[in-house]
């Protein structure tokens, strides 16, 4: 019985979050990739210089850090674009 509860909580969570999926903030509209990089990439470790990875490598690192650093896709894309434009 409890298992059914857990599974239904999980499914409703997935549904709720999928609905919220388009959720973004007004701040996101104006903030730059450089600012997001400065705010986010120092939280857990020293921020890496953009020259440490190639454009293609930043794609993988960007998604890896989206997952580890809990970034939205929009934040991840802006940061990756910034790093790719300055490496």
């Amino acid at each position: 019985m409890k298992k059914i509860h857990i599974v239904s909580i999980f499914i409703s969570l997935v549904l709720a979050i999928t609905l919220l999926n388009s959720c973004s903030s007004t701040r996101m509209a104006t903030i730059t990739g450089a600012q997001l990089w400065g705010e986010n990439c120092v939280r857990c470790h020293n921020a890496p210089p953009s020259t440490d990875f190639s454009d293609r490598e930043w794609e993988a690192v960007g998604t890896h850090m989206r997952l580890t650093g809990h970034l939205s896709k929009e934040e991840r894309d802006k940061i990756v674009e910034f790093l790719k434009s300055s490496n």
Partner: protein
């Protein structure tokens, strides 16, 4: 039998004939049907494969002995396949000296298949590091951890106890970030096999591929980032699971874990960088009677508070000054007094790091351990490099 062969032969012949009549060989299809220019374009612009990871060498001095006590190499494999799929895995190769000689370990730290669902959610499955507090999930790699040692109860083994919380869990989960006003909330929820209770000593074993019951663990963390533009993050995590086997004396044994964490990093030009991290957690199992008449009030607690300060770069002549970081951390571990693995212990860590790159450092630290009965001091040096 004969009839079957007679019937099958023309069929095979037909298929072979069709094959032969296919207009192009595979290479022809790819080269002749596509406009020439597109061959030069990246067929999967968002796809990428990368091997990252890190390396560590540790020198430990304790009780009048100094040893290169541990060396390890952790490759991390990252596959991004288009916009939706991301696979990540870390394997740890570890060599450690112990009283029993050399211990060699190969561990699958994590292997996670992620399905990226739009802007705010990621569905994941596999073996992952449980998002309970932040130290184990985020700060444990040696090139990330600000100190040369880990907090007791959160990675530094003491009396046979290494982690007072799940490390790797096997299951599925969902995580992501949503914006609320100008603030941000991140979430990470999972269902996993869960911990298993050792009925001999009341200890919990995590990392289980074979659960001892049908009940699954449920856990997760919510992180609040209330101030836009600030790195401040406050986290609350929880974890619960039935930990005893389905039938028997321990069928109702349940673990409950709650953790709070804080993180704040700020660089001020001319002053340097401050990095504050902390975590507080309690863990309890609602069973007191174990085998061989062992009675344990099975609740434990661990907390740590850490502050690191990296010097500023004052002038070009002494730029190296800004590579220096000092760190202090206090950790307190409270475990049940009657448990065989029980001894309340505090750990004061004072350290200094020299960063040679953003992800490589020489770190040294002195740990002052104190229990009711005695006090011990240990020195640790670490050379670590991420790549």
């Amino acid at each position: 039998m004969k009839r079957q062969i007679i019937l099958t032969l023309p069929l095979l012949f037909g298929i072979a004939n069709l094959w032969a009549q296919l207009p192009y060989s595979e290479t022809e299809i790819f080269t002749t049907n596509l406009p020439k220019a597109s061959l030069k374009e990246d067929p999967l612009p968002n796809s990428s494969f990368l091997v990252a990871g890190y390396y560590t060498l540790e020198l430990e001095a304790e009780n009048g002995e100094a040893n290169f006590s541990e060396t390890k190499f952790n490759p991390i494999f990252l596959w991004q396949k288009g916009q939706k799929i991301f696979f990540q895995s870390e394997v740890e190769f570890e060599l450690r000296g112990s009283e029993n000689g050399i211990e060699q370990e190969i561990n699958l730290e994590y292997a996670v298949m992620n399905l990226l669902l739009g802007n705010n959610a990621v569905l994941y499955s596999g073996k992952f590091i449980a998002p309970i507090g932040t130290f184990t999930e985020r700060y444990h790699p040696d090139w990330i951890n600000r100190a040369a040692t880990k907090p007791i109860g959160l990675g530094k083994p003491v009396n046979g106890l290494k982690l007072l919380q799940p490390g790797g869990e096997i299951g599925i989960g969902i995580k992501g970030a949503v914006f609320v006003g100008n603030g941000k909330v991140n979430y990470n929820m999972f269902i996993s096999n869960g911990a298993v209770l050792d009925s001999l000593n009341g200890m919990l074993r995590y990392d289980n591929l074979l659960d001892n019951n049908t009940n699954k663990a449920i856990g997760g963390r919510i992180g609040l980032m209330p101030i836009p533009g600030s790195t401040l993050e406050l986290g609350l995590s929880g974890y619960t699971a039935k930990v005893g086997s389905e039938k028997g004396n321990y069928e109702d044994a349940t673990v409950r874990l709650l953790a709070l964490d804080i993180n704040y990093v700020k660089a001020i030009s001319g002053f340097g960088k401050i990095d504050i991290k902390g975590q507080y957690q309690t863990l309890g199992v609602n069973t007191t009677n174990y085998e061989n008449n062992l009675v344990i009030d099975n609740s434990s607690k661990v907390w740590y508070a850490q502050c690191a300060y990296q010097l500023p770069s004052i002038s070009d002549k002494v730029r190296w000054l800004s590579n220096i970081e000092v760190v202090s951390r206090y950790t307190q571990l409270d475990v049940p007094a009657s448990a065989p693995w029980g001894e309340d212990l505090s750990q004061l860590t004072l350290g200094i790091n020299y960063w040679i790159r953003w992800n490589a450092a020489f770190k040294v630290a002195i740990d002052f351990f104190k229990s009711d009965a005695d006090a011990e001091t240990g020195a640790t040096g670490v050379f670590t490099m991420g790549f």
